[in-house]
Amino acid sequence: MSFSVMLEQLSSGMVKSLGIFVLTLVFSLPLGLLVAFGRMSKNRLLQNIIKVYISVLRGTPLMLQLLVVYFGPYYLFGMRIGGTYRFLAIIIGFSLNYAAYFAEIYRSGIESMPVGQYEAATVLGYNKIQCFFRIIFPQVVKRILPAVTNEVITLVKDTSLSFSLAYAEMFTIAKQIAAAQTTFMPFVVAAIFYYVFNLVVAVTMEKIEKKLSYYQ
């Protein structure tokens, strides 16, 4: 296999890794916020359910969770799983897992806001929803951005865990090329790809951070 073909193959794998990355963020960021609300809920039952959810999702390996999401429908409910479910399972698995982490990040941000702001908002006639989305949330976003960046960078690297379901993202393809060509070159190339990917993520997040720090 020529080097250019290898690059081409790994690039096509990169596109799939990128797909997992983007879709996971699209689903887990909003889901994380909902989970955070549940975690901070005054309803004891909901709060405890969410606590268990976060505890389990953070306390077990993501690779294991992927296997459970993929094979679970069959072993638990006897459903036959078809070809496209492999990808869906990966997105569901990653989204559920990352939502748990994001929820705690949101919570840290939301709970760090001084009570006085809520009181002031109430006095000014804001209702709870207006207060949260117009006053609290924009500040929360700024505060939690470094922590979110951490998770997002981890996610880029975690996409490689999809190899456990043999989904043809970059790491799986690198392994396959390595086996067929009996060489470790694809891993070197894959490492560079991941690094560049993360460099882009880090630079972008830094830019967003700067843009949001308009009061400093």
Partner: protein
């Protein structure tokens, strides 16, 4: 708080509907999903152009061409092969799959390759026979036939017990790197794969003494004998028209292939196949 609960319920419903949408049963077979280890040359691997190929893959393609099925090449993680098969994600395991020791676990096709499990060592290791492996670190792929053979309950368990360590690894490429780096003393594996690896690994050799003689078959889920019989029938057709031998030659496996029409002892399967055929015709 209420909002949060509704949102959660919505998300759960969405996830559930996505699952339900993809889980459906096909009435008539149009596709044939073959599960294989894509890191297992020359049986299944990624070729120069980045497509999956290999002796098993091309053979499966030929069967599909005969049957008018669409071949779905499904690379699987070898550890999860049983879960993939049971859950219906794949129709069969076709990946240099050893029958011996797993006779009752799958509905097996006719055996098509005579294989043996061998041990690869480095030339300068001074190891010349199986007895020389005493106290050494020997590696075998997780969930592989070689591992089962050498572990407790296997036919070579006594030999396995003499090893210093029986190390499990995920893929052969890593195992060979470890062998050359000296972190393991020997690797136990299928002879076909060993020969492929040896071509590019200088300083490695296969011990003359083999661990066993065994056969490869295509593994179908128990209870799926009908599909098994259809594939068997097509395989024999490919043997008759020469395609099978051509493929064997292409992948340098001519010395090892053993596909043959079943003899008397297998009459039962043949009648079954014939019955299935009449059934198919009357339908």
């Amino acid at each position: 708080m209420k909002k949060g609960m509704i949102g959660m319920a919505l998300a759960a419903a969405l996830a559930a509907s996505m699952v339900a949408g993809t889980v459906c049963m096909a009435d008539e077979r149009t596709t044939f999903a073959v599960g294989f280890d894509a890191e297992y040359p020359p049986y299944g691997y990624m070729d120069e152009n980045g497509d999956y190929t290999g002796f098993d893959i091309e053979l499966a393609q030929a069967v599909c061409d005969l049957r008018g099925w669409e071949l779905v090449k499904t690379p699987i993680a070898w550890d999860s092969k049983d879960m993939e098969l049971e859950s219906g994600a794949i129709d069969c395991i076709w990946s240099g799959f050893t029958i011996n020791g797993r006779e009752d676990d799958y509905a097996w096709s006719l055996p098509y390759v005579d294989n043996s499990q061998v041990v690869v060592v480095t030339e300068d290791s001074g190891i010349t026979d199986l007895a020389g492996l005493e106290g050494k670190i020997v590696a075998a792929q997780a969930a592989s036939a070689a591992l089962e053979l050498l572990s407790e309950g296997g036919d070579q368990a006594d030999l396995g017990a003499t090893f210093g360590t029986l190390q499990e690894f995920a893929d052969y490429n890593t195992a060979f790197a470890e062998l050359k780096a000296g972190s393991v003393d020997a690797v136990a594996m299928d002879v076909g794969v060993a020969q492929y690896q040896i071509k590019t690994s200088e300083g490695c050799k296969i011990l003359d003494e083999t661990l066993n003689a065994e056969q490869y078959g295509i593994g179908f889920a128990l209870g799926n004998e009908e599909l098994r019989d259809q594939v068997n029938e097509s395989l024999l057709e490919l043997l008759d028209n020469g395609t099978f031998d051509e493929l064997a030659e292409k992948y340098e496996l001519s010395d090892m292939v053993c596909l043959a029409a079943p003899a008397e002892e297998a009459m039962e399967t043949e009648t079954e196949a014939a019955e299935a055929e009449t059934e198919a015709m009357t339908e």
